[in-house]
């Protein structure tokens, strides 16, 4: 009797272990496969001119995506300039001022909802708000769309990280006579700084790979991003256009662009991990 029970428990243990391992294996296989394809096909498309020259017409050899790389960096930076301060402030409100208030609860709920909003919705929203009213696509509109996606991520991580700072630290600073804003800036934010930085970098990594919001806002362009007020070249929409094109050289370039953006996001993630490990 006893032995049979033990055998059944052991069998159940094995079954669960195998199912879990299989699930993990499926996940890792597809991830490695995607990475392998991107690296093996993308790396061969890279060359010096890829990073320095404008795109060549289809069929012609040479050329590069320097304009799209620069455009993506600029649009992401613009999104960061808009989204990070707003997100940090919203996070401070949630963690420091809004706790237990009706409005704070509402803001927290909206932040969570916004995190789940499909990115294409953010793109369409900015399209109707900015692109339609101004009458043209622009890099600014692209930056605003990405900033809308960054804001809830930064706000949520900021609020969570600041909530981890013990109240005794706030009380100690207040007890020395520090006004509330100094306590928040000099003590709480400083204690949580590696967490705040992580949130910012994660948000940057997340939005720099977005295509849908840019399709309706920044669109794309074969030229250098001279001015942000017109259609602006960027990597993700370029990948979308080139991959769908019938030209082999453009498909090659799309692989190269995929590699560059994957490597960029990976670099940001690694930087985040490094910062976290060094400061905690």
């Amino acid at each position: 009797m006893k032995l049979a029970g033990a055998r059944r428990r052991k069998a159940a243990d094995w079954a669960v272990r195998i199912a879990a391992s299989l699930g993990a294996a499926v996940g890792i296989v597809f991830l490695v496969w995607i990475l392998w394809e991107v690296v093996s096909r993308g790396a061969s498309a890279l060359s010096w001119s890829f990073f320095t020259e404008l795109p060549a017409p289809p069929g012609e050899a040479g050329g590069g995506l320097a304009n799209a790389i620069l455009g993506t960096v600029l649009i992401s930076a613009g999104a960061g300039l808009l989204g990070v301060p707003a997100g940090i402030m919203a996070g401070i409100y949630l963690a420091e001022y809004g706790q237990g208030t009706r409005f704070g609860g509402l803001v927290g709920f909206m932040v969570n909802v916004m995190m789940g909003v499909p990115s294409i919705i953010a793109g369409l929203f900015v399209y109707t708000l900015i692109v339609v009213s101004l009458g043209h696509f622009s890099g600014y509109a692209g930056a605003v769309a990405l900033a809308l996606l960054m804001l809830p991520i930064v706000a949520r991580t900021t609020a969570d990280m600041m909530a981890l700072v013990p109240d005794s630290l706030r009380e100690s600073a207040l007890a020395l006579g520090a006004p509330r804003w100094r306590v928040i800036v000099q003590i709480v934010a400083r204690s949580a700084r590696s967490g705040l930085l992580t949130g910012i970098l994660l948000a940057v990594a997340r939005v720099s790979g977005e295509t849908a919001p840019l399709l309706f806002t920044a669109l794309n362009s074969p030229y250098w991003p001279h001015s942000f007020s017109g259609p602006t070249a960027n990597l993700t929409v370029t990948i979308f256009n080139y991959a769908m094109s019938p030209y082999r050289s453009w498909q090659q370039a799309a692989w190269g662009a995929s590699f560059v953006i994957t490597a960029g996001v990976l670099a940001v993630s690694l930087l985040t991990r490094y910062i976290l490990r060094r400061t905690t």
């Binding site: 005794s168 009380e171 007890a175 020395l176 006579g177």
Partner: protein, 277 residues
Amino acid sequence: MIAIETTSQAESAPPRPGPQPVESSPARGAIAVRNLDFFYGEHQVLFGNGLDIAPRKVTAIIGPSGCGKSTHIRVYNRIYELYRDQRCTGEVLLDGQNLLAPTVDLIELRRRIGMIFQTPTPFPMSVFDNVAYGLRLHYTMPRSELADRVKTALEDAALWDEVRDKLHHSGIELSGGQQQRLCIARALAVEPEVLLMDEPTSAVDPVGTAKIEELVRRLKERLTIVIVTHNMQQAARISDFTAFFLDGRIVEFGDTTELFTNPVDRKTEDYITGRFG
């Protein structure tokens, strides 16, 4: 318009002098508590507390967990106001001035009444900047004077010899006992008249505890100390007066030796002889 004027005035104002030495007489830092009730939301936790705390003496507050000891002293510097649902009624007079009046300048109040917490709370900055934090908050002074005052505060907290070579290391790298003395130095730097200590040794090892107790004995020569402790031996060792709290009420208050050897109330006797708590 008015706001702009105020700002420009503040910027052009001459540097304020640092803290002046407190005159030796008459002793300042006497606290009188009158009819203090305290509420967490609808829940009342302090009932009609009345207490007279003598200047430049150590007053211990003892009692079982949850009896309102910490809540009581958290009224003195109004730190409880950080929390929306906490409120109190009654009076707390510091040298005759009601600290609970809405007109009281909280920043100046907290310069005059320092507080040490249960767990050490070094700020995420260097040892030097920790001690200088309050000074920079309240005063404008030349760098050399700031350095002098930081050194004095660290000496007063019996920490200078241990940290003189690591002033620019993070305060978080110090040991628990050192961190707590760092917090004491930080509080002393702004020359408070009263120091509130909320179970200051509960997270500190016995050696560190002995150092902090020694410090308390020395510090009472220049300021009033109110110490909350769950450790009756500690109260007996270092305090001049003791108040025994039970369920938010002050059961007995008097001379420490008297209270421990000859308690008037039966509940005090039960508590100090270890029958409950």
